[in-house]
C-alpha cells in the first residue's frame, strides 16, 4: 500500500507556541453541524444559509438589521444597575455586574433607541442575553419605561425585542415589580393608540413572558425560538411528564394561539413596517434595496 503522504524529513515538530490556530470568529458552526463563514452569516441576517438556523444575536445586530443605514439615537445609555439589596450568593451581585460589563461591553441587559426604519421613526428596545442572561432588573424596567414614554411623545410605534431568562433574582422583588411598571407604561401607550409590536426571540421566558413580551398588539417571533413562562426543565421536574415534541418553540406557541406570526429574520424589517402601515391605515411603504 502506498502512503498518501510521505514524511521526507525526520523529526519535524512544531512547538506549541508556534502552532497556528484558526482565528476565532471566522467560522460559525450551527447546532446542526453546518459551518458558515462569519462574514456570510452577517450578510444573511445572522441566519445559517443552509439550514435557516437563526443564530442568537444582540441589540447591535438587531439595530443594524432594523434601523435604516444603522443610524439611530441611543436612549438612556448611561443607566446602570445598583446593588440595593447587597445581594450575595456564590458571588456578589456587584462583582457579577462588573464582570458582565467587562465581558459584554454593555451597561445592562437592554438597549433602547430611536431611529428611522423604512423612512419612519420607530422606537426599539432590544434585550441582550449576554448580559446576565438578559435578566430584567430595575435598569431594564426603567429603560423600557422611558422608551415607551419616548414612543408616546414622538407618536412613534414601539418595538420590543425580548431575549431573556426572566427577572433578575439578585434584585429580588424590585425586579418583580418591573413587570408591573412596564405593563403600566404599556397601558398608557395603548391608551394613546400607538402600535406596540412584541418580538419574542430565543429565549423569552419567565418574567418577560409574564409582562411585556406577551402584551403586544401583535406578538411575533423567529423560527425555533424558545418561548414560555416556566422553563422546560422546571415543567419536567414539577410534572414528572415527558414534554411533547417541539414544546415551547415559537411554532408550538403560535399553534396554541399566542403569536400572530413567525418571520424569517430576512423579512423582519419589512413585515414589522407593513403591520405598522396597515394597522394605522397608512399607505404601505416600499422597501428599498437592502444591502
Amino acid at each position: 500500500m502506498t502512503a498518501w503522504f510521505k514524511r521526507k524529513e525526520k523529526g519535524i515538530q512544531t512547538a506549541t507556541e508556534e502552532k497556528k490556530d484558526t482565528p476565532k470568529g471566522l467560522w460559525y458552526k450551527s447546532p446542526t453541524g453546518k459551518i458558515v463563514e462569519s462574514e456570510d452569516l452577517a450578510k444573511n441576517f445572522y441566519v445559517s444559509p443552509e439550514d435557516d438556523y437563526h443564530v442568537r444575536i444582540g441589540s447591535k445586530e438587531y439595530f443594524e438589521i432594523l434601523f435604516d443605514d444603522n443610524t439611530f439615537k441611543e436612549l438612556d445609555e448611561k443607566l446602570t444597575s445598583k446593588d440595593p439589596l447587597k445581594f450575595v450568593d456564590t458571588k456578589a451581585y456587584s462583582d457579577r455586574l462588573k464582570a458582565a460589563k467587562a465581558k459584554t461591553k454593555l451597561n445592562d441587559a437592554v438597549r433602547t433607541a430611536i431611529g428611522k426604519s423604512m423612512g419612519k421613526e420607530l422606537v426599539i428596545a432590544c434585550m441582550d442575553f449576554s448580559f446576565i442572561g438578559g435578566s430584567m432588573g430595575s435598569v431594564v424596567g426603567e429603560k423600557i419605561a422611558r422608551a415607551i414614554d419616548m414612543a408616546k411623545k414622538k407618536k412613534a410605534p414601539f418595538l420590543m425585542i425580548s431575549k431573556s431568562g426572566g427577572a433578575r433574582m439578585m434584585e429580588a422583588a424590585l425586579s418583580l415589580m418591573q413587570l408591573a411598571k412596564t405593563s403600566a407604561k404599556l397601558a398608557q401607550l395603548a391608551e394613546a393608540k400607538i402600535p406596540y409590536i412584541s418580538l419574542c426571540t430565543d429565549p423569552t421566558t419567565g418574567g418577560t413572558t409574564a409582562s411585556y413580551a406577551m402584551l403586544g398588539d401583535i406578538n411575533i417571533s423567529e423560527p425555533g425560538a424558545l418561548i414560555g413562562f416556566a422553563g422546560p426543565r422546571v415543567v419536567k421536574d414539577t410534572t414528572g411528564k415527558e414534554l411533547p415534541e417541539g414544546f415551547q418553540t415559537s411554532e408550538f406557541v403560535q399553534e396554541h394561539g399566542f403569536l400572530d406570526f413567525i418571520t424569517h429574520r430576512r423579512d423582519l424589517k419589512k413585515k414589522v413596517n407593513l403591520y405598522i402601515d396597515l394597522i394605522q391605515n397608512l399607505p404601505v411603504r416600499k422597501e428599498k434595496e437592502l444591502v
Binding site: D89, K181, A184, A210, M214, T239
Partner: protein, 317 residues
C-alpha cells in the same frame, strides 16, 4: 396545633404547663406557683422566639399547616353574604383561584384569591394554591365585572407560584399573568391587596397590582421562592436560609424598599394562634383603606396607581 422546629421550646413548656395543671386538679398539691412560673417562662420564650424571627422562619410560618387560607378570611369577613362565582368562560373553573362577592358592612367587595387545601385530598383538589391560566383569567373576568358596577376589588394572595405545567404553558400562563398585570394597572375601581401567606413571583403579582398592598407580618413576597433561588444560584437546595435572607422577602424588608404600603400585625406566634383576631384586623384594614380610596375619582385612582409602580426600581443615572 402543630409546631415548627424552632417552636419546639414553646411546645415543651406548653406540655409542662398542661401536666402541671392536671396535677393541680387531680391531687391536693398546690401547684399555683409552679404553674405561674411556667406561664411566665412560656410568655418570655414566645416573645424571645417570635420577636427575633429570621427570614427563613417567617417563610416557614407563612406555610404553617394551621394558618388560615383565603376562604377562611372571606367566610369570617363576609359571613353568609359571600357568593362564590366560578369559571373563566373559556376553559374551566380553576380550583386554585377562588372569587366572589361579599359585604363588609354596607359595602360590596369582589374578593379574589388563591386557595390552598387542608389535607392531602383537598391540597390536590386546590393544586396546592398554584393557579393555571384559567385561574388568572377567571380573576380578570371578576375584576372587569366589578369595574363595570363600581365595586372595589380585594385580592388575598397565598401561592407558592403559578403552576408550571404542560397544559398551563399550552394555554399561555405567561400571557394570562401579563394580561392581568396590565389590566390591573388601569382598573377603574380601588384594588386592595393583602398577602396572607406566600407571595411567589408572577403567580402572586398576577392578582397583586393594587392601590394599597398590605403584607401580614409573617408572610413573604419575592421574585422566587428561597428554595428555587438556592437551587439556581447555589446549585443546591441546601442554601434556602441564606437565599431567604438575601432576597429581602419579609414584610419589613418589603416596606423598607417601598414595594408594599403597610405591614399588618399578627397575633404573637402567627395568624393561626388567634384566627378571630387576625380576621377582624384584616377586615378593618380593608374597610379603612376603602374609606380613603373611594374618595378618589377613577382617573386620580389610576394615575396614582400607575405613578406608584412607575417609581419602583433602584438604579444609577
Amino acid at each position: 396545633m402543630e409546631y415548627l422546629e424552632f417552636e419546639l421550646p414553646i411546645k415543651e413548656l406548653e406540655e409542662q404547663l398542661q401536666k402541671c395543671q392536671i396535677i393541680g386538679k387531680e391531687s391536693e398539691v398546690d401547684v399555683t406557683e409552679t404553674c405561674q412560673q411556667i406561664e411566665k417562662k412560656l410568655a418570655e420564650t414566645k416573645k424571645d422566639i417570635y420577636k427575633n424571627l429570621t427570614a427563613w422562619q417567617r417563610v416557614q410560618l407563612s406555610r404553617h399547616p394551621n394558618r388560615p387560607y383565603t376562604m377562611d378570611y372571606i367566610n369570617a369577613i363576609c359571613g353568609d353574604t359571600f357568593l362564590e362565582l366560578h369559571g373563566d368562560r373559556t376553559v374551566g373553573d380553576d380550583k386554585a383561584m377562588i372569587g366572589g362577592l361579599g359585604k363588609i358592612g354596607d359595602q360590596s367587595y369582589m374578593f379574589i384569591g388563591q386557595q390552598k387545601g387542608y389535607n392531602t385530598k383537598t391540597r390536590q383538589y386546590r393544586n396546592f394554591g398554584m393557579a393555571n391560566p384559567e385561574g388568572y383569567r377567571k380573576a380578570l373576568r371578576l375584576m372587569k365585572s366589578a369595574e363595570k358596577f363600581g365595586i372595589p376589588v380585594v385580592c388575598l394572595i397565598d401561592t407558592p407560584g403559578a403552576y408550571p405545567g404542560i397544559e398551563a404553558e399550552e394555554r399561555g400562563q405567561g400571557e394570562a399573568i401579563a394580561r392581568n398585570i396590565l389590566e390591573m394597572t388601569r382598573l377603574k375601581v380601588p384594588i386592595i391587596v393583602v398577602i396572607i401567606g406566600e407571595g411567589a413571583s408572577g403567580g402572586a403579582l398576577g392578582i397583586g397590582v393594587g392601590d394599597k398592598v398590605l403584607m401580614l407580618e409573617n408572610t413573604w413576597y419575592s421574585v422566587i421562592s428561597p428554595e428555587s433561588c438556592s437551587s439556581i444560584l447555589w446549585r443546591s437546595w441546601e442554601y434556602k436560609e441564606q437565599a431567604a435572607e438575601a432576597l429581602k422577602l419579609t414584610a419589613p424588608d418589603m416596606k423598607k424598599l417601598k414595594l408594599i404600603d403597610e405591614i399588618v400585625r399578627e397575633p404573637l406566634g402567627g395568624a393561626h394562634t388567634n384566627r378571630k383576631k387576625t380576621f377582624e384586623t384584616v377586615k378593618n384594614k380593608i374597610a379603612s383603606h376603602y374609606e380613603v380610596l373611594q374618595k378618589l375619582s377613577p382617573k386620580e385612582l389610576v394615575n396614582q396607581r400607575m405613578d406608584k409602580y412607575a417609581a419602583m426600581g433602584v438604579f444609577n443615572g
